[in-house]
Every structure is written in structure tokens, then in C-alpha cells.
Subunit: 378 residues, 2 copies
């Protein structure tokens, strides 16, 4: 049991964010005063600038850079970029935040400098985020928050937060929320944790989460359960990552046995996505392991008659993973599992275990799987 | 401040559920023993059997019935219906529950009686639900739980739940969850509440919910805030309904100013949907009122330059509402508001208020609106 001094850590990050923004602004100002055209440099956010290092464990942005020099044609986007950085700085100073959509509307008061479409402000924010990520600062530290819902959490965990108005510490006991759960906030950078759990179980569906919560699976299994609700949102991924890092907790992923579960839900949680490679270093959970459902589980747990044939989309997704997904291609065990699934020609949902009784998953499946965690797919 | 004895109430509902299932089973058995072909009667679940009574306030199922008599061709579906009712009974007795998907998989162990597609088990469950609804029993009381996530809640509310294992009372103080929130469980029938709030604010987007929560809007405004995340799920609607009924709390709805916000989000919360009319009586919140954003707000709060043109889909949705939505057609103020929106040719999101500053919504918009709650659209 330990906990971090979360206030001190967010204070450090805030200083770093402001220092980064000030140093860029100072350089632009110095260039202008010296009669030079100022420029801004951003990492290239494109798939051909994404690499996968098995040891590091997530898809990451390479070193290619693009340069935005102040010219007649770039004057508007140059100014917009600086104003967005100033917005970020002001939010750090006033302890506030904004969603992408709010940022777009803030610009409506910038006169000629306003964004005409949200797609423009989104792209500019992505550039700033990518640049900040190279300095170890996440989007949340810039105070740009995601719109999406954070997942739900229950189990042997106390979340340490603070009253945003007074700064007073608030402790939330996730073992004491009844049939409800703790809803993860959109930014988790300021949170601390206290736990005696042995692992984190990340669950695909809300229904399975509710089952494990109502039967207090986390109490006897000594764990923390997290509802992902399909592909986990940024807030959910970051929450699991920080919690796991801070307390050296293994993370086990419990999803459907189909290509979407393997390559979209699990792969996104563990190694991130190619489209937003600049944030993967903060969001990915490289320590995650795949508890199941695996193709071999369909055989081992007698689920053959509770499967569905693979659809054309399933088959294409599986082939694409074998042919082009750097994470899958780096792991022979995943290649073998996906080939096995293709050979079987079927998929199985995690609810298929209900064939043996609603709580078979609690009394048989999970205990058997957890007894052999070293055998989990990587 | 008051609270109900939630345990006693759920016990009553459980007895009623079992009595209903037993009476149907007894009738089937009596028919068979008397050499008669047994039959089961269900309400017709189709749009032409849906009515809207302005006084009652929600779309409801009419009295048309369909009859399923046991014959050679109906033997399988007849047996499936009875087995599903037996499953419901067993879940009540063992204090368990199942999602639609789990119910489908349970049937995999029913031999010839198994469902081949989830669509079949879903339709059979809908029939049973519709029948039970005529006896005042909701789907949740049959122990069929929705898969979908419940929304998030924060504010001046203590939720009274119980430890599902020991039955011990658990109290969750929704004013003490920091930047996080309380995640609504999939069934709320067993919950009790204690509150000194003056109203419930139901919010469309997660971003706006997080803003109001981080700035503890609910503290000074003395309210409870609920995140709907688009069209509210069944659990979210039921939660708001029970909370509002029990404590006579007004419910104010804060969504985007567009036809989707009016006729999908707000209308579903208040009057329900035609497709699932048999559950509306449990889920709708007829006492809800529309706080905004209204077409007139675009003018009154100077948001003209933060709007977007109505799309073809927006215009069609607005016209369909004027021409065929029984809820809209029953309320002249809604007809006028939608016509005003069509005449203006634009829509506005709730985030558009950020044009005047990120927290304008807290310092200006909401206080001004709340000072004139009697003027809210019905």
C-alpha cells in the first residue's frame, strides 16, 4: 500500500507545460525582433511516421517533423496555433480545461483568427499535442480534455481526489458503491490511489461488469474491475495505465473472442492506435495481458455450440491484422491464435459462458484462467 | 429530506413478479389437464397500437392483443416463452439478473428449444415484458437488465444501496466524489435516495457535465447533475424518473439546440419512444422541462456567429416532428420553437456558449435561465 503526492506531481507538470509554451513564444518573439521569419516545428502525424518497438510496447511517433513558417499564406494558421497555446496556458493558470468542441467555440471571439470548422481547430490541437508529447506532456496536461465518457470502476481501490474548490482531499472507496460504480473523470492526472488489489481486470461489456460487480467478484479475487464498454476511451486507458504503473499491478483483459476484440479493443488498450500515435505513450498499457476469451477457450470450455460463424468483416479484420498490424506481427502467439480462429471459422462472445449458467464465469471460468496467468496471450 | 424503505418495495415487486408468472403457468397447466389447447396473450407491440395522452405525458401501448395458441407450428416458440418466464422466476428467487445477450446464451442448453438467433430471444423477451408491463411490472423487475451503461451523477444526493452479499446498507454521497462521479447501475429498483436538492439537471454531453462538476455548479445551484451522453439509456431514464417521483424534484433538460436534441434526446427522456412503448410508463419523465438551448436563446445570448447551418437531415427531422410526432404536435410551444429554428436555418450546440468564455454557462446562462423556470418549453 502506498500513494503518491498527486498535488505535487500535477504542480510539476503544470510548470513544465507553461515553460514549454513560454519558450516557444519567446523564440517566435526573438525571431520577429531580429527581423527573421519565425517558424514552429511539429512532429509529422501520419502512419508512415509510426513505429512499433516490441520492448517499449506501443505504437509511437517517429522523428519526422514538419515546419510551419510565418508567411502571408500561413499567417492565419500560425496565429491560430499561438492563440491555442495561449489558451492552454491560461487554462493551466486558472486550473480550468476545455473539450475540443469548446476550444473551437472559444475561437469565435478571435475575430479574423477564428476557426471556421471544428476540423481545423482539432488538427491544430493535434499538432500542439504531438509537439508537447515529444516533451513528455500529455494532452490532458495541456488541459485539452476528451469529450468521451470515462469507464466505470469497482473493487479494492480507494481513489484519492480533491475538492476542486477548496483543495481538500477526497477519498472514494470503490469497494463501497453498492451496485453502482465510480465513473472515471475525463482527466486523471491529479488522482492518487491506495489499493491492496492483486490485479486489474479490464472488461469489454457493461453487462459482464455489472455481473462481476453485483456478485462482488473483486472482493474474493482481490482485484479492481474496470468497464471498458467496447474500445476503451482515452480517460479509461490513462486511468488503467497510471493505476497499474503506480502500484505495479498486472492488467488482464477480458473481451470477446473475435478479431474486433483482439485487434481493436485489446490492441488499442495495450499498444495504442496508429491514428493517434502521439498520445500512445501516455495512454497505452503495455503491461496488459489477454485473459480471454481465446480461440482455445472455445474448445477447453465447450463453447462450440454457443459460437457464431465469422462474418466477412471478421475475416478481413483478421487477415489485415496478420498482414499489417505491427503489434500482432511481432507476437507469434497472436499470429497462431488468429490463424486458429480463422481455421475454426467461428467467434464467441464473453457472454457465451452463460451457456453453462449465468455465474459459471465467476465460479469456473475466471478462477481457472487466473490460476494460469503466465499462459495468457501477450 | 426523506427516504423510502427500498428493500421492502423490491420484495413486494418480486412477489408480484412470481405471482404473475405462476398464474400464467397454472392456467397453461389447467388448460392442458382439461384437454384444451393452452394459449398466451401479449399486447401488440406495433406503432399502430401506440397512443399519446397529453395528461399522462408519455407514449403508451394500447389494448390490442395477440394470442399465441399451442399448435404443432407454435410448439417451439410456446415452449421458449414458458422457459424464458421460468428463467425470470429463477432469477428473482436467486436474486440474479441477465442481459438480453446472456438470456440468448442460456437457451443454448435447452436442447431443441434453444434460440437460433438473438433476435428471436429478444422478441420473445419483449413480448413477456409487454405483458408484464400491463400488470405494472417493469423489465428490470423480471430481472432482464439492459446492456447499456448508466449515465454519471454528481451533486447534492446520497444514494442508498446495499451490499449485494450481506444486505448491509451502503450510502454513496454524490457530493463527495471529487472530479469523478457515481455511475448508475443497470437496475435502480432497489435504490433509495436522500437529498436537499431543488432540481435535477439532465445534461446532453459528457464535456458539459465535467465542466459543471469540476466547478461544483451543483453546490451553489443546489441541484443534482446527470450526464445523459446523447439519448439517455434506460437505466439513466429510470434513475431520473424514480429520483424525481420520490422527492418531487423538477427535472430540467440541457441539450443542444437542434432537432436531434429536441425530438430524440428530450422527447425520449420525457415521453419515450414509439418502438418500445411498453416500457415508457416506467422510464419516461413526464415532469421534465426543456431548459435549453432554445432557438430564442440563440438570439437572446448572442450566439448567431457560433451556429451551424441546419443539414438536410436536421430539416427532415424537424419536418417529421411537426407532421407526425404526437408529443410535438400536442404542444403549440414546441411547434412554434421548431418553426422558429427552421426559419433561422441554423442549429447551436450547448458548447456554443463557450464563445463568451468557458464558464459563461455557469456564471450567466444557467442562472438567467433558472430564474425563469416557468418559461421553459414543455
Amino acid at each position: 500500500m502506498n500513494e503518491r503526492n498527486s498535488e505535487a506531481q500535477s504542480g510539476e507538470a503544470d510548470k513544465k507545460t507553461i515553460a514549454l509554451i513560454e519558450s516557444i513564444a519567446a523564440q517566435v518573439r526573438a525571431d520577429i525582433e531580429a527581423g527573421k521569419l519565425p517558424d514552429l516545428k511539429f512532429p509529422v502525424r501520419a502512419l508512415d511516421n509510426v513505429t512499433y518497438d516490441k520492448a517499449r510496447g506501443y505504437l509511437e511517433l517517429g522523428d519526422a517533423e514538419k515546419q510551419r513558417t510565418l508567411t502571408v499564406t500561413t499567417a492565419k494558421s500560425f496565429a491560430q496555433t499561438l492563440r491555442l497555446m495561449a489558451t492552454s496556458r491560461a487554462m493551466v493558470e486558472h486550473n480550468d480545461f476545455a473539450t475540443k468542441r469548446e476550444v473551437y467555440y472559444i475561437s469565435k471571439n478571435w475575430g479574423d483568427c477564428r476557426f471556421d470548422q471544428q476540423a481545423e481547430s482539432d488538427a491544430t490541437m493535434d499538432d500542439i499535442e504531438a509537439m508537447a508529447s515529444k516533451h513528455g506532456l500529455s494532452r490532458e496536461q495541456l488541459r485539452f480534455y476528451p469529450e468521451s465518457h470515462g469507464g466505470s470502476v469497482a473493487g479494492r481501490l480507494t481513489v484519492i481526489d480533491r475538492n476542486p474548490a477548496t483543495g481538500a482531499t477526497i477519498e472514494i472507496d470503490c469497494a463501497n458503491l453498492g451496485t453502482g460504480a465510480y465513473s472515471i473523470p475525463r482527466s486523471v492526472e491529479h488522482l492518487g490511489f491506495r489499493t491492496d488489489a492483486r490485479f486489474v481486470l479490464a472488461i469489454e461489456t457493461g453487462g459482464m461488469f455489472q455481473r462481476l460487480n453485483n456478485h462482488r467478484f473483486w472482493e474474493t479475487a482481490r482485484c479492481i474491475i474496470v468497464e471498458m464498454g467496447g474500445v476503451p476511451t482515452r480517460a479509461t486507458r490513462r486511468f488503467i495505465r497510471v493505476l497499474s504503473d503506480m502500484h505495479k499491478l498486472p492488467v488482464y483483459c477480458f473481451v470477446d473472442c473475435d478479431p474486433y476484440g483482439f485487434t481493436n479493443i485489446y490492441r488499442t488498450l495495450k499498444a495504442g492506435s496508429g491514428n493517434a500515435a502521439h498520445v500512445n505513450r501516455f495512454l497505452c498499457v503495455p503491461q496488459a495481458r489477454f485473459l480471454g476469451v481465446t480461440p482455445q477457450d472455445i474448445v477447453d470450455f465447450g463453447l462450440e455450440d454457443a459460437t457464431h460463424p465469422l462474418s466477412a468483416t471478421d475475416i478481413k479484420r483478421a487477415q489485415d491484422a496478420l498482414d499489417g498490424d505491427p503489434f500482432i506481427m511481432a507476437h507469434p502467439q497472436w499470429i497462431a491464435a488468429i490463424k486458429q480462429l480463422l481455421a475454426m471459422g467461428v467467434r464467441a462472445e464473453q457472454q457465451a459462458l452463460a451457456k453453462w449458467g449465468l455465474n459459471y464465469v465467476i465460479s469456473e471460468y475466471l478462477p481457472k484462467k487466473l490460476a494460469n496467468a503466465s499462459g495468457f496471450l501477450p
